[in-house]
């Protein structure tokens, strides 16, 4: 069941009302939300639910057992649990990819069928690892069953993030909270997120998907290819930032707060800044559980660069078992490494100093999206070749069919300006201003037809 389905929205409204009635009894409310979350997983199939519960149970038992043994054995148990989680993820997500590539190298066929990625496995594996590592470092107390299941299965973040940490969500549990202010922001976030996902990303996907096929793409100019790549940037922003905002909104409507996942990534002037604005919770997770344990920047520049490359390669591979994702991760790693070599991490003193670096960063990110979107490497390389093909003035012509998608994509671009615009609004008019924006977008959500497209990150 997609979060943009009418049926889901009806269920969500019922859940919000029920949770409001259950406000004085936080434990019952939290169990209700856990059950609702499990039903949402079941709506995508019984198997993903069984797998989630099995993996969750094994991890919960592992932490429980680790509590009652000596520190050395405790560490061994938690490391074994982490290895199990990675193995489960690897089995479902990468076994086919590894076997296929090894088979090509060795000239044999291992006969490993693609199992299909169980819903949300990439995200809940990260949640589990985060909990286990934090337990190992003694950064978090052991969670009770209710807290643990809530942390892991809370439906707004379960399927596609934001990736939450144990100090962020469980600390909000077991309390009677005031909801009134949360409802205002909850409605606002949900309506804006729904707009970005359905109106912007759904319609953009509908418009530009055909251009990614070889046959249709061949008829396009170089400028068209750039426009299509940029529109995909808008699409994936609308899709994922929209989903993340909906998640924040749903959580707020139920009285909980999730960390923000996006902060105007198209304004980033460096790759480092980009990752502080794009999928923020993933980049923080990779920093805390991969980059820093690898040594971070503590062991010299060359080691730091190697750590960045490894982190980003694995980050790319986390998105999907395909070479296109590896290249996408590598491109981001190279970008970050180049900045470190050039010493571009300092802040820019003046606005105009940012412009060339902003342009370079955004162009690099846009080209990297081509790999992310393409179904294979040769398709991506063909697309990039076509972007670079300048054969006379015709190369600058933009196809008429891309004009309307550009206007739709403007929705995603304008969303970047929203925080800047809101910062200029006097505080006493802030509510009115948000109310008008929410009202307008609510009507657009209602009247603009959105093709039924699954969230891109649901696949990961």
């Amino acid at each position: 069941m997609s979060y943009t389905d009418v049926f889901f929205i009806l269920l969500l409204a019922c859940l919000c009302l029920l949770c409001r009635c259950l406000r004085p009894w936080p434990a019952i409310r939290e169990w209700t939300i856990v059950v609702f979350s499990l039903v949402i997983v079941a709506s995508w199939g019984i198997f993903p639910l069984v797998l989630l519960l099995a993996v969750a149970a094994i991890n919960f038992v592992a932490v429980g057992v680790a509590l009652s043994v000596s520190p050395t054995r405790q560490r061994a148990i938690l490391i074994a649990a982490i290895a199990f989680d990675i193995a489960a993820l690897g089995f479902f997500k990468y076994a086919h990819f590894i076997a296929a590539n090894l088979g090509i190298e060795l000239g044999t066929n291992f006969g490993v069928a693609a199992l299909g990625i169980p819903l949300a496995i990439s995200f809940y594996t990260f949640h589990l690892i985060s909990y286990l590592v934090d337990r190992m470092r003694r950064n978090t107390p052991p969670l009770g069953l209710r807290q643990y299941l809530f942390y892991l299965c809370f439906f707004p973040h379960l399927i596609a993030g934001p990736i939450v940490r144990t100090w962020q969500l469980p600390s909000q549990l077991g309390r009677v909270r005031r909801l009134r202010g949360d409802i205002v922001l909850g409605v606002h976030y949900f309506v804006v997120g729904f707009f970005l996902k359905t109106v912007v990303a759904g319609n953009l996907a509908n418009a530009i998907d055909p251009f990614w096929t070889k046959d249709t793409g061949a008829a396009l100019s170089a400028a068209d290819h750039w426009v299509v790549a940029f529109l995909y940037y808008c699409q994936i922003y609308g899709d994922f930032a929209g989903y993340s905002l909906m998640a924040l909104g749903m959580a707020r409507l139920l009285g909980y707060r999730l960390p923000a996942n996006f902060r105007a990534p198209m304004l980033a002037s460096t790759m480092q800044e980009f990752w502080r604005r794009w999928h923020i919770t993933l980049s923080r997770w990779l920093r805390d559980y991969l980059y820093i344990p690898l040594g971070g920047s503590r062991q010299g520049k060359s080691r730091a660069i190697a750590n960045i490359l490894v982190t980003m390669l694995l980050g790319g591979l986390w998105h999907g078992a395909a070479w296109t994702f590896v290249v996408w991760g590598a491109m981001h790693g190279i970008g970050l490494a180049a900045e470190r070599i050039l010493g571009l991490q300092r802040k820019f003193d003046r606005f105009w100093q940012r412009i060339p670096w902003w342009l370079c960063t955004q162009l690099w990110v846009t080209v990297a999206w081509v790999f992310f979107r393409s179904s294979d490497l040769s398709g991506a390389l063909d697309f990039i070749r076509a972007m670079m093909r300048f054969d006379g003035w015709g190369a600058f012509a933009v196809h008429g069919r891309l004009i309307l998608p550009l206007l739709i994509g403007a929705g995603a671009v304008l969303h970047h300006a929203a925080p800047i615009g809101l910062a200029t609004v006097p505080r006493r008019y802030l509510g009115t201003c948000l109310g008008v924006a929410t009202g307008v977008l609510l009507v657009l959500d209602l009247i603009v037809y959105a093709p039924n497209k699954v969230f891109i990150y649901f696949k990961f």
């Binding site: 069941m1 009418v6 199939g45 202010g181 802030l430 948000l434 109310g435 929410t438 009507v443």
Partner: protein
């Protein structure tokens, strides 16, 4: 937080009302020119089997897992009609039930299990197996399976739905989407951003197929622009099948069914009877070719211990080149029922007390 709350709700309602008001007014003024929306499918009487091209498989879900008891009709039917959308649109199980009940002097139930969506034969086999359907008469339209498969990929989407819970939520999602759009149709317009420029149209903006809850017949085929296309049609009498202009695409060399179907019907002691519902595929119908195909089907059926009943094309019309019109469905159903009674193939069921 207080600053946020201040004026938020009033501003939201006001902004939405200011924007929506003229749209509602415009919609009310223009909705009179639109063809009427279909009657609301009341649970227990009818259900939406398809709303929008991406969700054409609700009937598959319902029959496979007996969702809301929709598949129960299939389980208790004495005679089951199997095939593609040609069967779904081309025959009426409700009418046939009445015809056979009259002939037998006791209630005989027929269920129309025709399924579109490029459904392969293996799905019907699975359906019979899962629903434990045995010792029945199965009337099978031979067009269904291997003739000229068209590239409609919806079955592959359906086949990803692996269990009844997932199926239930999928069906509920399609139904709630239809119900929501049905409710707002005529009150609010819809802007479609597909194509080169935005278009404003009706809220119920996707084609919908509504089936009979108890018999599986098509109750209504709705298109946003044309209104109801089946069983009543705004396009007049439809295309005359028997006098179509040029050769039929159906090739005599691709008659696949009886032997394969025997494989699934035999083990459960079901008794298949084959037929061929006439249809037009561009560039049209050819009488000689049709007769030739019918002869071949009859011969193949008898060789594989199957039984074949021809369904003459005279007087039948199609509304879209593929499927019979509502009026033609009534004629084809009567014709087939009469042929089945006359052939004696149903004697075991018609004579039982």
């Amino acid at each position: 937080m207080d600053a946020l709350k201040r004026g938020f709700w009033a501003a939201l309602v006001l902004a939405a009302a200011v924007l929506l008001g003229p749209l509602v007014l415009w919609s009310k003024l223009t909705s009179a020119d639109l063809p009427p929306k279909p009657a609301f499918p009341l649970p227990g009487q009818a259900f939406v089997a398809e709303y929008g091209g991406q969700a054409a498989y609700v009937a598959h879900l319902a029959y496979r897992w007996n969702l809301f008891g929709i598949g129960a009709g299939l389980r208790r039917a004495d005679i089951i009609l199997l095939g593609s959308s040609h069967t779904q649109f081309g025959l009426s199980a409700r009418q046939m039930s009445a015809d056979f009940s009259r002939a037998a002097g006791r209630p005989i139930t027929v269920f129309n299990a025709g399924l579109g969506c490029d459904t392969p034969l293996s799905f019907d086999a699975r359906l019979l197996d899962d629903r434990d359907i045995r010792d029945r008469d199965l009337v099978v339209d031979t067009f269904a399976y291997d003739f000229d498969p068209y590239t409609y990929a919806c079955f592959s989407e359906f086949s990803e739905i692996a269990d009844p819970v997932q199926g239930l939520f999928k069906a509920l999602a399609v139904w709630s989407r239809f119900d929501w759009d049905w409710m707002l149709d005529g009150s609010v317009p819809r802007i479609d951003l597909a194509g080169r420029r935005p278009t404003v149209g009706r809220y119920l903006n996707q084609p919908a197929t509504i089936l009979d809850w108890n018999y599986g017949d098509v109750v209504s085929l709705f298109s946003p622009a044309g209104g109801e296309e089946f069983p009543s049609s705004g396009k007049g009498k439809g295309q005359d099948i028997a006098n179509g202009p040029s050769p039929w695409r159906l090739a005599s060399g691709t008659i696949p069914l009886p032997q394969r179907f025997e494989e699934i019907a035999g083990p459960r002691h079901n008794r298949p009877i084959f037929t061929l519902i006439p249809f037009v595929l561009s560039p049209g119908f050819n009488r000689d070719r049709y007769d030739n195909v019918v002869r071949l089907l009859a011969a193949t059926s008898s060789r594989s211990r199957g039984r074949f009943v021809a369904l003459p094309a005279e007087g039948l019309a199609s509304f879209d080149g593929q499927h019979l019109t509502g009026a033609a469905r009534a004629v084809a159903t009567d014709r087939l029922a009469a042929s089945l009674v006359a052939s004696g193939f149903l004697s075991s069921i018609l004579k039982q007390p």
